[in-house]
Each structure stands twice: as structure tokens, then as C-alpha cells.
Symmetry: C2
Subunit: 208 residues, 2 copies
DNA sequence: GTCTATATACGGATAGAC
DNA sequence: GTCTATCCGTATATAGAC
């Protein structure tokens, strides 16, 4: 934001450090990541890390903040749009998230595992609690249930099912590859298929 | 195994250390856990940790090994039992895992996040790859599909759906509590309900 | 087996030259 | 802004008395 007027496309030092930090923090978590490794990975010197970001912790908070806001930006914009139907939102959410996660597979594990050690981090970014449960999305679901389109279900179950089907494969990828017959490419192919399948499945669950 | 002849029920020092280590490693992961904290938590002295387990790493490997074998013991015994039907296995697996995880909620996150940094750890314990995909359980599913009882589905999708619905809530608990209306007790109540619901849902998916 | 004291290494952070 | 050299706290591990 500050010094982004540079006409050159080369990443600034600051950006190089952030990229490396993102990579390492997301792969290994805060505690297992060494600032020295971040420095090396970004091709700069260790001292510059502190010069730009003051401390490992500050740098981490920045990365986590950006990951969280990025992750929830989509969600927030979609689930409270009153111009689209429940079914539209369902399609859009699944499609958008799987697409994004396929280019950045480590995000869910990163967020979930780090939040476990520091749950307050969530509060800063998603100031609104009950973000999902109070959304237009869920209200529309309840309308549909009242109208008899779907069978009754508790919103929390719906939430668990929806997220479970969509993001769990990314969290459990190593295990799934090991238990199943999967190689990397098979895995990605299945995830692509799930963009289409999950909305269908979710509706099936809502009719059961 | 070695010195378990003690007639006293008090936990041995070795066992006290292991309990504390289990607690801390599972909550915070390997890198964020300090051996000093394990010592303090178990009420013994730091030196004893190395006396019994040689190093932090060795202790961790032991804890992880036990977690993995515990986690997969159930799975292995159930999925290759040829005397029970596909549907029986489904019920039993969901019931067993939710029950166990409700008393030890950190296990899935612990396994999944540590495996990410060290995927080879899996190989040691689950020497058999394709454990799931080559099981009687999955073969029975395919028989049912051939018989027209269920619609075709790729085993990997089935695996992702099954695990996603069952274990994801435990992995994402903090997020789910935050996004939903959940307090701790609601959460547990929903998980109890899911013992009954998930098998029904899975069958619904298999008919879609 | 259990403790206190300590060796040793490592990782985060800064001083200061350029 | 960027580097090298270094400080200093902390964490693992061990020595050695009891």
C-alpha cells in the first residue's frame, strides 16, 4: 500500500519476504517455522525481516490476517446477497472455494490448526460472530424448509455437512491419498468433480 | 510392558510423563510443545524425561505411534470383517469413531497436522497402503452398486464424504462454534445426533 | 530412579558498517 | 535499504550427587 508505486514488476523486498513467510507458515505452522528459513527462502537477509516486520510474531499475524480475510471475503459477499437464491449460493460457494483451495491447498489446515492454539485470532477478523447462522443463506434455507421444499435440519448440521464435504479433502489430503488409490492428479480430478457433485449431494441430504 | 508388574495402581513415572506428553503434543503439536512443560505437567523433573525416553523426538514418535495405531485399530478390525454387511460396518464405524473422538477431540487435528510435516510417519504404522480402497468394506460397496442397490460412485468420493461428515466437525470445532450458534454442549449434542444421522445421509448420497 | 546444576545449541532480534 | 557479526534468551540434553 505504501510503496507500491514502483513501476517495476519485480517483487519488492517486502513482498518477497511475505511470499516466503506465507509459504512456510502455511506449510509448517508458526512454531515450526524459523525466521532464518523465511529469510533464506526469500533470498534476503535475516535482519531485513525484522527491519520490515519488526518481529516473527508480527509477520505471522499479518500473514494470518490476510489468509483469514481472503478466506472469508468470498463467504461474506456471497451468503448475504439477497438477489440470489439458496441454490445459487450453494453452487457458487462450492465452486469458488474448491477453485481457490486447489491453487492454495494449505490454507484450511493453516487456519484451522493455528486457530486451535489461538482462537481469539478469529475474533479480530470475523468480528461478527454467528456469521453463518445469521446469514441470508441460512434464512433462505429455513424458508425453503418451511415451504416444504426441504426436510427440517438444524443449521449446525447443515454447516458441518457443507464444510465437511467441501474443505475436509484439503485438510486430510495426505491421509486420503494414503488410504485411497490416489495419486496427486487423481486427487485434483476428484476435487474438480466435486464442484458439480457437492451441491447435488447437499440437496439430497436436505431431502432425507 | 517392561515394568508393569507393579501391584500399585498409581501411574508409574513413565506413564505420568506419557500422559502429559500426550496432552500437550496433541493440543499444541510437536514444535510448540516444550519438554519443560511436559515435565511440569507430569509433576516430575525434566531430567527424567530424557532418562526414560532419550529425547523429545523419541517421546513424540511414541505418542504419535500410539495415536495412529489406536486410531486405525478400530478401522482395520471393522472394515475387513466379512461377517458383517456394508451397512453394518457403516453404522459401526460412525458410532465408534464419534464416541471415541468425543472423549479425545484433539486426535484428528493432531494426526492430520503432524502428518502434513512428516508424511512418512504414516507409512511406519499403516504399512498397508490403500488400506481403505482394498478393504472388504469398499468391495461390499461395489457389490451393492453392481446389484443396483446404490448408484455408482468412485471409492475416493465415498471416502472423502464419509470422513468429511464424521471427522471434520472435530477438526473444525473452533470455527464451527464461531460461525454457528454453538456452545460446547450444543456441539456435543449435535455430534451425538450425527451417530444416527450420518449413516442415513451416506446412504442418501449413495442413492443420488 | 530422582533430583540440581550445567553444558551446548539454536533461534529471534539488534548493532552498526556500508 | 541491505548486509555481517553478534548478543541473549530459551530449550534440549547431560553430568553427577543423592
Amino acid at each position: 500500500m505504501a510503496k507500491k508505486d514502483s513501476k517495476i514488476l519485480d517483487k519488492s523486498t517486502e513482498e518477497k519476504i511475505k511470499s516466503a513467510a506465507r509459504l512456510l507458515f502455511q506449510q509448517k505452522g508458526f512454531a515450526a517455522t524459523r525466521t532464518r528459513d523465511i529469510a533464506q527462502e526469500s533470498g534476503i537477509n535475516l535482519a531485513l525481516l525484522n527491519y520490515y516486520f519488526r518481529s516473527k510474531e508480527k509477520l505471522f499475524e499479518l500473514i494470518m490476517m490476510e489468509a483469514l480475510t481472503g478466506f472469508f471475503a468470498v463467504l461474506k459477499s456471497v451468503i448475504n446477497d439477497s438477489n440470489s437464491s439458496f441454490e445459487d449460493k450453494l453452487d457458487l460457494l462450492v465452486e469458488t472455494y474448491i477453485t481457490r483451495l486447489l491453487v492454495n491447498e494449505d490454507i484450511p489446515m493453516f487456519i484451522l490448526s493455528e486457530i486451535r492454539s489461538n482462537p481469539k485470532a478469529l475474533l479480530k477478523v470475523i468480528n461478527a460472530e454467528r456469521l453463518m447462522i445469521d446469514s441470508v443463506f441460512i434464512h433462505q434455507l429455513q424458508k425453503q424448509i418451511e415451504a416444504g421444499v426441504y426436510k427440517p435440519i438444524h443449521p449446525n448440521h447443515f454447516l458441518m455437512n457443507f464444510m465437511g464435504l467441501t474443505v475436509f479433502p484439503f485438510v486430510a489430503k495426505p491421509m486420503i491419498l494414503h488410504l485411497g488409490d490416489g495419486n496427486e492428479t487423481e486427487f485434483r480430478k476428484h476435487l474438480e468433480e466435486r464442484k458439480r457433485l457437492i451441491p447435488i449431494w447437499i440437496k439430497a441430504l436436505l431431502n432425507t
